[in-house]
């Protein structure tokens, strides 16, 4: 009962924040609201028992993304520009159609938490039964990520590192000439 209520409230927060992000003009407010969105979805992931996903969401969404987006905003403009040449009807139709197709696609999926779902039948029982002996890590998700899918995780880390290097190369390593000299004064 209380869990359902918490789910509904958190999902309402997410929906309201997304609508506000679309509607608002100031990009700084958009970045702040994106941080709020990330924190709310992290709370939702905790409610769904996916603590590691929630942690990643909070670190990437609320921490690093905010910093990177603010750095981008410092290099570019502050206000959103309208570039749409047509009315809102065509995008609305495309989005509605895509959403309808996605909802239609979920009808074939097993129910949430269904123990007979294919995802819970394939290798998950072996992880649950053997990972405490084979790996010895108390948290099963950690043992899957760090041992069974170790090469996969290594590839992900490589991709993220490359992306970070790319972003730093775009922003520039060198110290720019001070744009605001009043801050350089002691």
């Amino acid at each position: 009962m209380i869990e359902t209520l918490i789910d509904i409230v958190l999902l309402t927060f997410l929906a309201v924040t997304a609508i506000v992000i679309v509607r608002i003009r100031s990009l700084f407010a958009v970045i702040m609201l994106a941080g709020i969105y990330s924190l709310a979805s992290a709370g939702l992931f905790v409610v769904l028992d996916a603590v590691d996903v929630a942690f990643t969401e909070a670190v990437v969404g609320a921490g690093i993304s905010t910093v990177l987006l603010l750095g981008t905003l410092a290099l570019t403009g502050e206000q959103r520009k309208t570039t749409s040449r047509h009315g809102p009807l065509i995008p609305l139709a495309v989005v509605t159609l895509t959403g309808a197709v996605l909802v239609w696609g979920t009808w074939d999926m097993p129910l949430f938490g269904d123990p007979g779902a294919p995802a819970h039948q394939h290798v998950a029982p072996r992880y649950i039964q053997d990972s405490p002996n084979e790996v010895g890590v108390p948290n099963m998700v950690t043992s899957v990520l760090a041992s069974y899918r170790g090469f996969d995780t290594l590839g992900e880390v490589t991709v993220i590192f490359t992306a970070g290097v790319g972003v730093l190369a775009l922003l520039g390593f060198r110290r720019r000439k001070p744009r605001h000299p009043e801050r350089e004064k002691p």
């Binding site: 992290a42 609320a62 603010l70």
Partner: protein
Amino acid sequence: MILAGVSLGILVVMGLALLSAYLGPTVYDRILAVNMFGTKTVLFIAAYGFLTGRPDFLDIALSYALINFIGVIAALRYVERVYSVEKPGGGADDDTA
């Protein structure tokens, strides 16, 4: 029961922070709202952990506070850099210094 009430109360305060982030006329209102929302997320995760009988998530909730802190520091640095230029006599075109 008390924990359920606490969770719901925290959710209400999160909604108020969301409202403040939406309505807040100045930049500082929004930064304060984000900071408050992050703090309330930490509190909510803590309360929810005790509500479901597994307070193991408490340390993770604490690390959220650190992440939130980093975000707020970045936002304030940005505000300090950009918004101080718009003051009269800020010396924005004195770019060769």
